[in-house]
């Protein structure tokens, strides 16, 4: 139906390699979100799937067909552009109808299709208006309707909500999720807003500098990040990453673990932890306190560096000097390349970063 496969895709602009040997499979019917910082190649990837840009190397498959060299109109892909790209000289009706006429859909059928679509996106009263006379949200719906009416196998949306205000964005987010559930087609969605990604996607692809950092479901990304970049991209505030050269110790098997840093999420750090909890204890000084109502966020300076702590439904601490406990099972370890070390776990020990080293054991079969 709408399975997309990118095989070894590279894209050069002049000598600059913007996408580097990308492999990605997008499940049929999934809501796949591409996230990443500005300039990491999200739009370029989408445009290659749509056929608006040609990849320099590699193959793109949609279902069982290699679409290399197939023009955009024949790929059965519809795209919603960031700036909507509505046809300014045509009214809403004509905008939606344009593609249908090109597809030689008979007039009767066109009328019915457009009428149905207009009802779905709530545009029935605006059919005679030109795009310039519509609000941002309405334009976005026109763009959606224009894409939907073609009943494509794949929907491609490039930051469709970035021009809307916060409230409307929230509303459209919900509408898009419902739309996806109703249509059941594949959605490929680009954003650089991680909240949008987490709330909408059932599969998230984190990209950086043209390379996929991790592709997984939202909860997997949160619980089991593959590297420092993915770990820090998801969650606000971002995961704390602190150096831990002192942890480079012989493992149980006698090998050295290359642990360059460790991390923990701000919401997993505890003030006043019961003594029964085994964990890493960090002493520090509170630099700033932010209260957002239900949650409080602290910036804390420790001997290993700055980190943040998030607490829920607890009164704001007024202490300056605090001890923070992070349960051992909440710690993540990374090597010097920033890759996650999954098999490592600290079972017992004292404060990291002190001369007294904790004992490291390998679980699940060593490195």
């Amino acid at each position: 139906m709408g399975r997309i496969e990118l095989k070894g895709i590279s894209k050069f602009f002049k000598d600059e390699e913007v996408i580097k040997n990308l492999d990605l499979t997008i499940r049929d019917g999934s809501f796949t979100v591409l996230v990443g910082p500005s300039g990491c190649g999200k739009s370029t990837t989408l445009r290659m799937i749509a056929g608006l840009d040609e990849q320099t190397k590699g193959e793109i498959w949609i279902d069982d067909k290699c679409v290399n060299g197939v023009p955009p109109g024949d790929r059965d892909v519809a795209m919603v552009f960031q700036n909507y790209a509505l046809y300014p000289t045509m009214n809403v009706y004509d905008n939606i109808e344009f593609g249908l006429i090109n597809r030689k859909v008979p007039k009767k059928e066109r009328e019915k299709l457009i009428k149905d679509i207009a009802e779905i996106v709530g545009l029935s009263d605006y059919m005679k208006k030109k795009p310039e006379m519509l609000s941002g949200g309405q334009r976005q719906r026109v763009a959606l309707a224009r894409a939907m009416v073609k009943k494509p196998q794949v929907f491609i949306l490039d930051e469709p909500l970035s021009n809307l205000d916060a409230k409307l964005r929230h509303q459209m987010r919900t509408e898009l999720i419902q739309l996806h559930e109703r249509l059941g087609t594949t959605f490929v969605y680009v954003t650089h807003d991680q909240v949008e990604a987490m709330s909408m996607g059932d599969e998230i692809v984190i990209m950086n500098k043209g390379v996929i950092q991790q592709a997984a479901s939202p909860m997997t990304l949160y619980n089991d990040p593959a590297n420092v970049f993915a770990a820090q991209f998801i969650g606000t505030p971002a995961m704390n990453i602190l150096p831990s050269q002192e942890l480079q110790l012989p493992s149980a098997q006698g090998k050295r673990h290359d642990i360059a840093s460790f991390g923990f999420r701000p919401e997993h750090a505890l003030f006043h932890a019961p003594a029964a909890i085994e964990g890493l204890r960090l002493d520090g000084m509170v630099l700033t306190r932010e209260s957002l109502g239900a949650e409080n966020i602290y910036q804390i300076q420790s001997s290993l560096g700055m980190f943040s702590v998030k607490t829920f439904l607890e009164p704001l601490t007024s202490d300056t000097l605090v001890t923070v406990t992070v349960p051992y099972e909440r710690l993540y370890y990374f090597n010097s390349e920033g890759q996650r070390l999954r098999q490592v776990e600290v079972r017992r020990g004292e404060e990291i970063g002190t001369a007294q080293a904790p004992e490291l054991v390998s679980v699940g079969g060593g490195l």
């Binding site: 608006l52 795209m79 552009f81 790209a85 046809y87 300014p88 000289t89 597809r103």
Partner: protein, 292 residues
Amino acid sequence: MTSRLWEKLKPYGMISPSLAVFGIFFIYPIFYMIYLSFFDWNFVSPTKNYVGLQNFTDLLSDKEFMQVLLNTTIYTFATVSLTLSISLAIALWLNRSGLFYGFVQGAIFSPHIISLVSISLLWSWLMDPEYGLLNWVIGLFGLSPLQWLSHPDTSLMSLILVAVWKGIGFNTLVFIAGLQSIPPSIYEAAALDRSKRWRTFRKLTLPMLSPTLFFLAIMSMIGSFQVFETIAIMTQGGPVNSTNTLVYYIYEYGFRFFKIGYASAAGVMLLIIVGVLTIIYFRMLSKRVHYR
């Protein structure tokens, strides 16, 4: 009180120099021309005879004047439609980046900055029936030579050719600017909508270009109605009035036959024609053509 009055007057004081220039060189001559069109005067005699609408009735019953109006109209419509369609085609071709295209853009624009007098002399020479380059080129193709400016059948056409040649550069440049203001994503959306090239041009490019198109059309119409230099230098309205146009006609009656009143009446006609075109332009601008 006085200071507030001063506040109100200050802006007027500041624009008064340009207002004065505008009044002396634009407003006053127009009204003076309208005034003169009701008189019979030869430029030098101390008295002007009031003749009422006589100049206008003479003008409208003059066969020569009708011929002049017809020539001007043909000249204008041919020049404008040819210039616009050729410029648009060239602009569509040149609207891409690259050294070559930049060079062609510059080359095509150059006639626009050459003075009309030089252009007229140059083309008179090119169009010379016996020694001209054009006839030589035509001869290469085995065709019989044309008389160009020296024959009533081809003279107006020759002038149109020169006007088109001169006008293409500027019009192309403005068209390219117009094309570049169309966001590329519109074309990408059209590609995803399976729009064919010709349909994209007709349904998207042309409508989005219509403000530019209309602006150029009116501007070159107004310009063509006032054509003078090429005619004065290349044909002097001949042969047998075949290239006599409105402004040249006014010039001849005013400054060669010294019938100032009669020439002024013709000038008033020109004013009306250009005025109507301008009004149409602004009307259309505020209505259909503007889509944003």
